[in-house]
Symmetry: C2
Subunit: 191 residues, 2 copies
DNA sequence: ATTATAATAAACACAGTGTTGGATTACAAC
DNA sequence: GTTGTAATCCAACACTGTGTTTATTATAAT
């Protein structure tokens, strides 16, 4: 079942359009990027764009979905067979993935990125991490739900700050900050 | 020092434009709202709009700044002279304010709202709350900065979930969830 | 009632959209 | 290499929205 060969021209068209969109997203948000502008940057005819995508958002979503699929595959390559350390290791891996794909992640997770994607990524992790907690602890289903929301949004904030500052801290250091915050809150720091 | 009287016509124009924008924001994001559409909804001539505002974002920002100023004034009316309970009371007040201004807040803090505003609001609170912690605890300036980011973003997530669900919980209940999460993290629930 | 000015209506050039039909070119397959 | 296929390009189209200007009308302030 080998995927049928794709015409080189199509491959090229899609690639430059994606690259050009990423470049433009470094400067402005998706809503302010016009298709005309995008096509001029990519040196692709506008009607060719419409042959492949509905609009800017369509193209951006495809880029996002590719990233998400790639990340999932990357995470699955790890077994994560530790018990307590499981969530920590997973969070480290996420940060490592972001480092390895810095250019793209910086755009998609940055201020011009899509929040929906960011939540999708972190939800993936946290739900996995909290799965067993639910059965072991005295926390109700409802409260767990609330806390996951809190933890996911907080973690996204940290990732964004980290990216803004140029990823000076290592993946492991960031993972430690995140897990500490998630599990112990401010009490981790106040004697 | 009484503010010079404003022409009733101007007052009306600005009011309907604001109301109309709020209505439209219930349905679509600011970038998808055209000025033509907004003026038709408000039954205001398009050139009149340009006499007062630069574009949609300009109008929206003015609405946001008014809300923020109003909230600040509201918070200042409280003295907040408790010590430990200070931050808790302040958070309760925030939630009470949102309940009292539900229609507007639902839009501005909701999915079509401006994240920048939301962060501005919560930053205001958290910085205030954490001011003394810095001197009492063994937390470094840097770590505090990180944790504030985490807590602010987490809290915003909780507010959004609360609004989405129709604000079923009381302001006090929500404030308890937030403070618990901020101060103790998951350890509040896991024996 | 008079005066000042805000709002309106109509028109303008301009930019971007989404779609079309036909010419051109590059490709894969044989 | 030749050839049929199809992807790309090009030019044109009607349409929507923008931002600005002008003269006219309506209304507020005094």
């Amino acid at each position: 079942m080998k995927s049928q060969k794709i015409d080189r021209r199509v491959k090229y068209t899609k690639l430059t359009l994606k690259d050009s969109l990423i470049d433009l997203l470094k400067v402005k948000s998706i809503d302010k990027i016009t298709i005309t502008e995008l096509c001029e940057t990519a040196d692709i005819n506008r009607s060719t764009f419409y042959a492949h995508y509905k609009d800017q958002h369509d193209l951006m979503q495809q880029i996002e979905q590719e990233l998400l699929a790639d990340l999932k595959q990357y995470l699955e390559s790890y077994t994560f067979q530790g018990y307590e350390a499981e969530s920590f290791q997973m969070i480290v891996s996420i940060f490592e993935y972001i480092v390895a794909n810095a250019e793209l992640c910086k755009v998609l997770l940055g201020p011009n990125g899509d929040i929906a994607l960011q939540k999708e990524v972190m939800m993936l992790v946290q739900r996995q991490s909290f799965k067993e907690i639910h059965y072991n602890a005295k926390i109700s289903e409802e409260m767990l739900e609330y806390y996951i929301i809190f933890a996911v949004n907080g973690s996204i904030g940290l990732i964004q700050k980290w990216l803004q500052e140029g990823m000076k801290k290592t993946a492991k250091e960031m993972a430690e900050i995140v897990t500490k915050a998630v599990f112990k809150g401010l009490s981790a720091y106040v004697g």
